[in-house]
Subunit: 220 residues, 2 copies
DNA sequence: GTCTCCCATCATAGATACAAGCTGAGATGC
DNA sequence: GCATCTCAGCTTGTATCTATGATGGGAGAC
């Protein structure tokens, strides 16, 4: 399910018409190209990809489960609009999930060294992107950093859930904020501080620090 | 998405072959009638329900997204076995989600009175079932109690996620433990204590109390 | 007896065909 | 002009059909 997790971007040797339909449609929704509330049909996507309706149907079902599409029985599919308060909900959920991962680490200190190594690697990458001023790459590294924290906890359920949160965050950011170049070093510093807290296995200190960090980045 | 949330158990006027297939298959997996690791095919379910394979395929896809089925390209569907450590993961996740809900309540005290009323109602029901010694009803009320806490937080994302956790918990309990009659009053008492903490809006006290409670019930 | 290769069998993936429901625009009556 | 009725067109839901891939068991070589 999270197959493309840590592998190189291009890998899937599976052409799979259903997957293509899924990815395309999801991308259209997440980027806002299909705006919230928009009604469209399986046929449109099918034609656009040159496939039959069957794989598109499959894609729509997955997206409905993810809560991005609302399938109306004999009418079509509507893009679920970003609900009011979604930003708050996503941030709360992210905080809860990441904090849970760190709590687990505090209980299982043997997992910490490996986690630290991965986090430092990601952070180095992110710092390089910040220095280079590459905003998209920076944002991607940022997402990877936080996901790495969650992955370090080793809780598959939380990791999968976190992936859906990242999707929603991406969709929101599309319409709202983009990273401010001047703040990039600040973000890197805060990440460094988070790593220090993880290293100290101080689970109680992590949650407030993370909240402050997320607030600063996403609620300015 | 969580349409059947608070409505009476049976209601959906939509016969929908796809839904029937979904519910049947999910039940077979959750009850363990289809054991973990078992390989089966769309055709079996299709024949059993007297429908074509198409709606069954739909059901299988949903179950794959939920992580209960693993669809192998040209082979069939295997029931994902309960992974080792799943119990720990579910409990950690439940703790994280419920605690997040209570943190939100602590930040939004205006939501607390309504939450308390709902919780007391559910708890009364549960107490009655305990007195009557109705174990299944007690277990159901127990699940509703905890879900009510999450719902009170008003975070749709967390509530939906929590529903999937409840499914997994149900599946695990099928193979492992069942409630011990002698402990029922104790559970009610602990729930009462949790409500008191919510009433006091003491978010910091909630997480440890919940962990102790869940440990007592599910990790004895 | 054991290993290898080949193919009959079975399962999915996708395309196509068909049935049934919803909707909105235009016709109709007043 | 306005309300209502009707129906053509579009969309989904399900069934059926075809192509392709995977597998396991048996024939045959050794």
């Amino acid at each position: 399910m999270l197959a493309s997790m840590l592998m190189t971007p291009a890998k899937n040797a599976a052409p799979g018409a259903a997957d293509r339909a899924y990815r395309l449609t999801k991308e259209l929704v997440l980027t806002g190209e299909l705006p919230g509330g928009h009604l469209f049909s399986e046929g449109e996507i099918a034609e656009r990809l040159g496939v039959s309706r069957t794989p598109v149907r499959e894609a729509f079902l997955r997206l409905q489960v993810e809560g991005l599409l609302n399938l109306i029985p004999k009418r079509g599919a509507v893009v679920v609009p970003v609900p009011p308060g979604e930003a708050e909900d996503v941030l709360d959920a992210r905080e809860a999930v990441e904090a849970a991962a760190v709590r687990r680490l505090a209980r299982r200190p043997d997992l910490i060294p490996d986690a630290l190594e991965r986090l430092h690697t990601v952070l180095d990458t992110q710092r390089a992107h910040a220095d280079a001023g590459d905003l998209p790459a920076f944002a991607e590294a940022d997402e990877l950093f936080h996901r790495t924290i969650v992955a370090a906890g080793g809780n598959t359920l939380l990791l999968d859930f976190y992936a859906t949160l990242a999707d929603r965050q991406r969709r929101m950011n599309m319409h709202a904020l983009r990273p401010i170049p001047a703040r990039l070093p600040e973000v890197v510093d805060e990440h460094t501080a988070l790593i220090a807290i993880i290293e100290a296995a101080d689970a109680d200190a992590f949650a407030p620090a993370l909240r402050a960090h997320l607030d600063g980045v996403h609620r300015r």
